[in-house]
């Protein structure tokens, strides 16, 4: 199956708050964008696999975010839930073009 991706503009780099998440609404989906202490930007599905907590509001520590509902620890780069809990969230590629930050979203995500 051919997979196409959509490039979605999510904001200017300097306007993303550092070490915090930002919620991006894309049709009926939500993506959480994080600007890490390192300056890198990451994007994951804004939904904890446990009880659907909004990860954008979680505490960010290095490469991890702690879900605000029950403190699950999730790696923002590969989407994996950390032990002893299990599961994963979808991750999205982030592209920075000068000031502008984009997220690459596979089309089936936007269509489903």
């Amino acid at each position: 199956m051919e997979q196409t991706v959509k490039k979605v503009f999510v904001g200017n780099y300097s306007e993303l708050p550092e070490r915090l998440g930002k919620t991006v609404i894309l049709q009926d989906k939500e993506i959480a964008i994080f600007k890490l202490a390192s300056g890198d930007v990451r994007a994951i599905e804004n939904r904890c696999p446990h009880r659907g907590g909004v990860l954008a509001e979680g505490m960010v520590s290095g490469e991890h975010v702690f879900c605000p509902l029950h403190d699950w620890k999730i790696n923002i780069t590969d989407g994996l839930v950390q032990a002893p809990d299990e599961g994963c969230v979808q991750t999205f590629e982030v592209v920075k073009e000068e000031e502008q930050v984009f997220v690459l979203v596979p089309n089936e995500v936007t269509q489903s």
């Binding site: 915090l20 609404i25 520590s61």
Partner: protein
């Protein structure tokens, strides 16, 4: 080579544990199929009573998620029952018409609750307590009905009864014997247990035999053999379990009480095995978890062709999972002609201990009240230790050679989660673990009931030696070995003012800390340097960062300040208008005498606050929440002081103060204490000409009655003594330690000594004033800051 086909009937704890052991020994060697009657993945049945008691939720007791089955290529058919076994051709048949052939067949069908065949037992509202469905049925019933009757005063019955009490029902426990848990306890312990549970609100009807369940469609009561009756609209039968052996019987396996197996868990027919509660080994059928795990291990080794001695039976031990009650028993319970007993009954401390000795060896034990010795006794009994060994070891207090040293690697340390000594030691060595918390996170040991914590700690000591001793003091979290006191000392000495600085200078193991240490450090820094430290919003938990309470669906709740619980018509109108305008989901009165607007969208929060024009009630923070007051002298015919006025003054003075945990207050105007100051962090009672100040009360998880702290004459003094107490608490408590735990830990006297000393009190009050001086009303601050609005409250609408 073609894989051998392994079929498991029963997707429960014993069967799946066997599969896990097999996968550990020989991964990828078997083609595994599992049939399970219940529509769930394998869950921890033992924890159901905790679910019922409200300590955990059904979704949290799953042991193997669906993904586990996928990842290990285990074919699972949930909700599918095996109806027939063709032992000659080695095929099983299911109720959905499936046929599966096997090389090895494991029967792990567990047991069924024993339902007394009473007239009326089929009525609505009669249930067992065995699976998720029963549990849900009881929780549901508790919402609509009030009176529960539990038939059976054994382990399961009492756990069910405690759960129903927690669910707000009135509970009668009906029991045939003249004391409780007669299979696990002796009479003195059973009577002590009864007294304790009665004080928790349970009602017992002993030596009663139920004759009939009354009612039309739904149960309305019980009638006993002696003619007596009681009303009930929920009946829980917890009189025991019987092995589920129907299928085995129809297949022609040898059956006694359970499916008869030998030391290798082999049944009377080749290639068919049985494990768990349905199996009978050496005349014993076990209904507890530890033996099931031991059987699973033996069976796995056998199927994998490993050399081993087989299963040799288990020494049982029992523990009751009811909060506030410590009961333990193992081995022999009752005296015989061949036994001698050692008994200690301490009526003052309400503890009881009995140890039974047979042929100079320890043979059994019953403990009530203090069960610390339980695991040690169990291990000694398992080993067949001589009574002298025990007496010597308990005399020589410092001879603390822990029992874990002599345990073999496959002995289970954590019974709830079936974690063996070997697994824990291996994790400590390979993953570099150095604290109980880390072991818990990595292996799940001690994650459920926590009784094995001391053993886990012993294993750490044993494995790491002195390295661990050094860590034994309570570190803030797994990111550091330093304790709270050490970190604060360093903050002061090195003048550290930012949490990243603390982490760098003090050698944090993680670069940016975790959700435990980050908020703690932010608090400590603010406490030490109230003016210099800039609050770190990214280290605040979401509620304190956004100044609203997050709800499970990602909406928020808004609670405006309502000083002393006093309001007026204008404010109420404004609140009503705001509720309409933003379509709030629910308007609710809080326990602290204010109004909660629930279901507000994050992006609406600043608009709601603006329209309200009221200060934040801080219903989300580690700070002063509310000051609950009674009507007081202004209107009440009993009131002797102006409690509302006093409450408003307290709330105005301390609002927005950062504290280690939330702080609640109450002010009443007479000893009737209508504002419930006896369970507040600070409770004030106004008497004629005198105010009493109580501290350290708590009405939540750990109920604690407040201690009388000071008696003073004037309102100013109430404010002063409260300020000094709170400042002492701020400076000396651990982050997230409530005043109740704090007062309990350090004792009331040292605090009184400081606060009653005029000079010390003045200094405490001064530092309190400094802390209060940086307070700015947060909602208004948000509304006026465009960057905060953008950073925290706006969502991006992408296209």
């Amino acid at each position: 080579m073609e894989k051998k086909k392994l079929v498991l009937i029963g997707n429960g704890m014993a069967g799946i544990r066997t599969i896990e052991e097999i996968l550990k020994l020989l991964p990828e060697q078997f083609d595994i199929t599992v049939f399970g009657k219940e529509p769930y993945p394998n869950y921890n049945r033992i924890q159901l009573s905790k679910v019922l008691q409200g300590d955990t939720e059904i979704s949290d007791i799953t042991l193997n998620e669906w993904e586990w089955y996928e990842e290990n290529n285990v074919r699972l058919y949930p909700g599918e029952t095996v109806t027939k076994i063709d032992k000659d051709n080695q095929i099983v048949f299911t109720d959905k018409g499936k046929e599966t052939s096997y090389d090895y067949l494991i029967i792990a069908t567990g047991s069924n609750p024993f339902m007394l065949p009473l007239p009326g037992a089929d009525k609505e509202g009669v249930t067992a307590f065995r699976d998720i469905e029963d549990c849900e049925k009881m929780i549901h019933a508790s919402k609509n009905y009030k009176r529960a009757a539990v038939i059976g005063g054994g382990l399961l019955g009492l756990e069910a009864a405690r759960g129903l009490l927690n669910l707000g029902m009135e509970v009668d426990v009906i029991h045939l014997s003249d004391f409780l848990m007669e299979r696990q306890l002796d009479q003195p312990a059973g009577k002590l247990l009864q007294k304790e549970l009665e004080s928790q609100g349970m009602n017992f009807l002993l030596e009663k035999q139920t004759a009939e369940i009354l009612g039309k469609k739904r149960v309305t009561g019980l009638r006993f053999n002696d003619g007596g009756k009681i009303p009930a609209d929920l009946v829980v039968m917890a009189v025991g379990i019987k092995p589920n052996i129907q299928l085995a019987q129809e297949t022609g396996l040898e059956i006694n009480r359970g499916i008869v197996v030998n030391d290798h868990m082999e049944t009377s027919i080749p290639n068919i095995y049985a494990v768990g509660e349905c199996a009978e080994h050496n005349g014993m059928v076990y209904g507890l978890v530890a033996p099931l795990y031991e059987q699973g291990q033996a069976l796995a080794k056998h199927i994998c062709g490993m050399n081993h001695q087989g299963y040799k039976g288990s020494v049982l031990s029992t523990q009751l999972k009811v909060s506030g009650v410590n009961v333990f028993s193992t081995g022999l319970i009752n005296e015989t002609d061949q036994t001698k007993s050692i008994k200690v009954f301490d009526e003052w401390r309400n503890t009881y201990k009995k140890i039974l000795v047979q042929d100079d060896k320890l043979a059994g034990a019953v403990l009530f009240g203090d069960t610390k010795e339980g695991t040690k006794l169990l291990s000694l009994i398992k080993k067949g230790a001589k009574v002298e060994d025990y007496l010597e070891s308990s005399q020589a207090q410092d001879d603390d050679e822990s029992i874990v040293v002599s345990m073999s690697d496959d002995e289970v340390i954590c019974g709830c989660n079936g974690v063996t000594k070997g697994t824990i030691v291996n994790a400590i060595k390979t993953q570099g673990l150095s604290s109980v918390e880390e072991v818990k996170g990595c292996t799940n040991a001690s994650r459920s009931c926590g009784t094995c914590k001391s053993l886990v700690s012993d294993l750490l000591t044993h494995t790491l030696g002195d390295e661990y001793e050094a860590n034994e003091k309570e570190s803030i979290c797994a990111c550091t070995d330093l304790s709270r006191d050490e970190v604060i000392a360093e903050i002061k000495e090195k003048h550290l003012t930012h949490s990243r600085e603390v982490m760098n200078v003090l050698g944090w193991k993680t670069e940016e800390g975790c959700s435990k240490c980050r908020p703690a450090l932010n608090y400590y820094l603010g406490m030490v340097y109230p003016k210099e430290h800039e609050d770190e919003r990214e280290s605040r938990f979401v509620n304190e960062r956004l100044h609203a309470n997050i709800q499970k669906d990602g909406t928020y709740s808004v609670v405006p300040r309502m000083y002393g619980g006093v309001t007026n018509a204008d404010d109420l109108r404004t609140i009503a208008d705001v509720a309409d305008k933003y379509k709030v989901g629910m308007i609710k009165l809080t326990g602290g005498q204010r109004i909660d607007l629930l279901g507000v969208k994050k992006e609406d929060l600043p608009l709601v606050w603006k329209d309200l024009g009221m200060p934040s009630g801080y219903a989300y923070g580690k700070t002063l929440r509310t000051v609950k007051t009674c009507v007081g002298a202004e209107f009440c015919r009993f009131g002797t002081q102006d409690s509302t006025g006093m409450g408003i003054k307290l709330e105005k003075k301390f609002e927005g103060l950062n504290t280690p945990h939330k702080v609640k207050m109450g002010v009443s105007a007479c000893p009737r204490n209508c504002a419930e100051g006896g369970i507040k962090d600070v409770g004030v009672i106004g008497l004629d000409g005198v105010w009493e100040v109580y501290v350290g009360g708590n009405g939540g998880t750990d109920l604690r009655k407040a201690d009388l702290f000071a008696k003073v004459k004037t309102e100013e003094e109430v404010l002063e003594y409260t300020a000094a107490f709170l400042q002492y608490y701020r400076e000396n408590a651990r982050y997230l330690e409530r005043t109740s735990h704090f007062v309990e830990r350090v004792g009331l006297e040292p605090i009184q000594e400081m606060v009653f000393n005029d000079e010390m009190r003045q200094e405490l009050c001064q530092r309190m004033d400094e802390a209060l001086s940086v307070y700015r009303e947060p909602w208004n601050e948000v509304i006026e800051s465009e960057t905060t609005l953008r950073d925290l409250y706006e969502k991006v609408n992408a296209k």
